[in-house]
């Protein structure tokens, strides 16, 4: 059974690596075509609305009191669970 295992290994390497390269090559092609197609026929009308609404600018300030409140809110929420 182990006779010719080297041959089997070489074959597996050739066909395996070949398939990987061919498959990913086709994927490069398909992806590029898809991106062009989408970009041409279904362009994004507006800048993509970010789904998780970002916090309003005020909150980004490093106001220590705000951070304290946030910390406490998270802490209280977690400890409640």
């Amino acid at each position: 059974m182990q006779a010719g295992i080297i041959d089997q290994g070489v074959e597996l390497m050739l066909y395996g690596m070949g398939t990987v390269v061919v498959f990913l090559g086709l994927l490069v092609l398909a992806t590029t075509l898809m991106s062009r197609f989408v970009g041409r026929y279904f362009p994004e009308a507006e800048p993509e609305p970010s789904r998780a609404a970002p916090p309003p600018p005020a909150a980004r300030a490093d106001d220590p009191q705000l951070l304290a409140v946030i910390g406490a809110a998270i802490h209280r929420y977690r400890s409640r669970r």
Partner: protein, 434 residues
Amino acid sequence: MDNLLTLWHASGLVQMAPGQGVMILVGLLLLFLAVRKGFEPLLLVPIGFGGILANIPGAGLAYPAVENALLQGGPALLGEIAAQLGVGADGGVKALMAAYESAGPTTQLVVDRLAAGAGYSDGMLYNFYTVAIASGVAPLVIFMGVGAMTDFGPLLANPKTLFLGAAAQFGIFATVLGAVGLTAVGLMDFSIADAAAIGIIGGADGPTAIYVSSVLAPDLLGAIAVAAYSYMALVPMIQPPIMRALTTKAERAIEMTQLRHVSRREKITFPLVLLILVALLLPDAAPLLGMFCFGNLMKECGVVDRLSDTVQNSLINITTIFLGLSVGSKLVADKFLDTSTLGILALGIVAFAIGTACGVLMAKLMNKLGSVPLNPLIGSAGVSAVPMAARVSNRVGLEANPHNFLLMHAMGPNVAGVIGSAVAAGVMISLVGG
């Protein structure tokens, strides 16, 4: 007095085989690496702990009921089982297990009944393994979760980086060759299926490695999983010397142009394109890549966020726990303490090294041939080990040029490497399995 003897004979001290002691130490070592050194703790904590549990002498947590009956049963029970199997009882547990496995289904049912009647049952970890890994479900669910956490944006912005992900898979196949070579010279005794399963360590992708091993070489699964996760944790040590050796300082300092914006529609369409390509060309990769694309589609489509959140959190966490414990069940001494484990560990690191080198060399080639500058350091990220390998590319790039932020550029080959090794897995299952 009898009871005292029963308890004493049931205790671990009496039953402990040397191998079990060694494996308990190995389990503790894995826990140490996970907890103190930060080696992929999410997997190595459950694996290490499962490894200790599997080797508790006399507990039989990793064995099926029949094996527990053979290992712990008295001579009367063994004789009865042997008679049912039509073999002699003096061939030892291994011979009896082999006879059981090759017996007809109704004989097996009768022997199962004998073992159950004598009070032996499937071990806890054996049950976990059956449900989580032998069925294939746990690696696939984790792959779905990985899909739901993957952002294909950088890949879509620069699809050519898929070639880097392809090149790095050469580590897989070179290792297959190494494994059969060791067998040919008589150092090891791997079948071609074993060799394929060992090669997949080079994919640097835990669930893919576990999935392939569970199909092609279940006995080697423990060593393969431990090697895969350990080397993934060692990527920051394995890769940089190879990357520096294969590139000039000028190459490492190359700055890349900013990635274009990728629209949400492209991101939604990509998993479907990939799925269709798999369906047309490589059905044997359909379970792995199908679940991966499904997870990614759930994430990107934006209308099933509650499913996507669950997949990325409680579902993947629950699955990880039982996957880890199940892998641990394959660290039983009589399967793990074998020269093949040493071979697997040695081949695994070679696989990582070759994959890294091929990725870098392919990137150099693409930089030479292409018109846009491409920093060869992002090639090493093609092995996957998401996102560690991409961070390594970024770090080595910053050493050569403090204004060189390669992280996003390296994420393209990084996720391409996940696809690449899943494709390699499909090829190998198609050619070698079944």
